[in-house]
């Protein structure tokens, strides 16, 4: 019988193991907001 794994579980298993404390770099763009966003 085929059992469907929850996506979160599957994603967890498939995810490449990352070193502890790994912080993904911020996306290169768009940049920071200097005054306010309208």
């Amino acid at each position: 019988s085929v059992t469907k794994r929850a996506v979160a579980v599957a994603a967890q298993h498939d995810k490449v193991p990352r070193p502890v404390g790994f912080v993904p770099p911020p996306p290169p763009c768009p940049g920071k907001i200097r005054h306010f966003d309208i």
Binding site: P28, C29, P30, G31, K32, I33, R34, H35, F36, I38
Partner: protein, 249 residues
């Protein structure tokens, strides 16, 4: 093994900020109407190498209007960005630059400016007056009355209207019209103007003297008119950037 292509520039990298600063300087230097704009955000940057030490940069910029009129000699870094509650005006610009041996030059720029949506302002500040159309009858009457009032009391050159920068009309709790407008000194004194205002022309560019006025007219519950004008004094126009063209309406 060929060298890996350089990592794409981030929008907050120093190189991107330098390009954005050059672009904003160019945009303000080539604008003849309205207000100076300041950088709010680098939306995107794309670099296309053209050869050794030669690249084309495409920038998408998000700018915000400042309180300095475009003719003001005030350096941009000293110009306050218009606050959100004052009904901010945003500029979206696409700029193409070239960088050769580290020197940046703007090849083309295209900007579109628009006031923030009224809903956004009223959501945050229900009582804030909103920007009025520049050809609103009350605005035109207020600016005309303010300039006449100023000229009637001034002892120096008779001032002509160059353009209305922005205006607001408030109805509650009082009926108030607020406006900002740019002016130019003419070749007449106020006395001459009383005799023959038609002869009063803006001074030629090599003697031009522009200024900026703010006015508040209270219409209800009582009538009151306040006007304040500051002349910038003669400025030597930058060689490749003519000051406001004389035919400015």
């Amino acid at each position: 093994v060929p060298a890996a292509p350089p990592a794409p520039l981030g929008c907050d990298d120093p190189e991107s900020e330098a390009a954005a600063a050059a672009a904003v300087n160019y945009i303000n230097g080539h604008s003849h109407h309205g207000y100076k704009f300041a950088l709010n955000r680098i939306e995107d940057i794309r670099v296309v190498p053209q050869g050794p030490n030669n690249e084309i940069m495409f920038l998408e910029l998000d700018l915000l209007e400042t309180e300095c009129h475009i003719l003001s000699p005030t350096p941009l870094e000293n110009c306050t960005v218009r606050s959100f509650a004052e009904h901010a005006v945003e500029g979206d610009c696409d700029v193409k630059l070239q960088k050769v041996d580290g020197t940046l030059s703007v090849l083309a720029s295209k900007c579109h400016s628009h006031a923030d949506s009224s809903e956004d302002i009223l959501k945050v500040c229900p009582d804030c007056p909103l920007l009025a159309s520049l050809n609103n009858t009350e605005v035109l009457e207020t600016v005309s009355a303010a300039l006449n009032d100023y000229n009637s009391k001034a002892t120096d050159a008779y001032l002509r209207l160059l353009e209305i920068g922005r205006a607001k009309v408030q109805y509650h709790p009082a009926h108030i019209v607020v406006a900002e407008f740019a002016v130019g000194a003419t070749n007449c004194s106020s006395e001459d103007a009383k005799a023959n205002v038609g002869a009063c022309q803006l001074l030629p560019e090599d003697q031009s003297n522009f200024g900026f006025c703010t006015t508040t007219m209270v219409k209800r519950p009582s009538q009151d008119l306040q006007v304040d004008c500051q002349l910038y004094g003669h400025q030597v126009p930058a060689p490749d950037i003519p000051l406001l063209s004389q035919d400015t309406s």
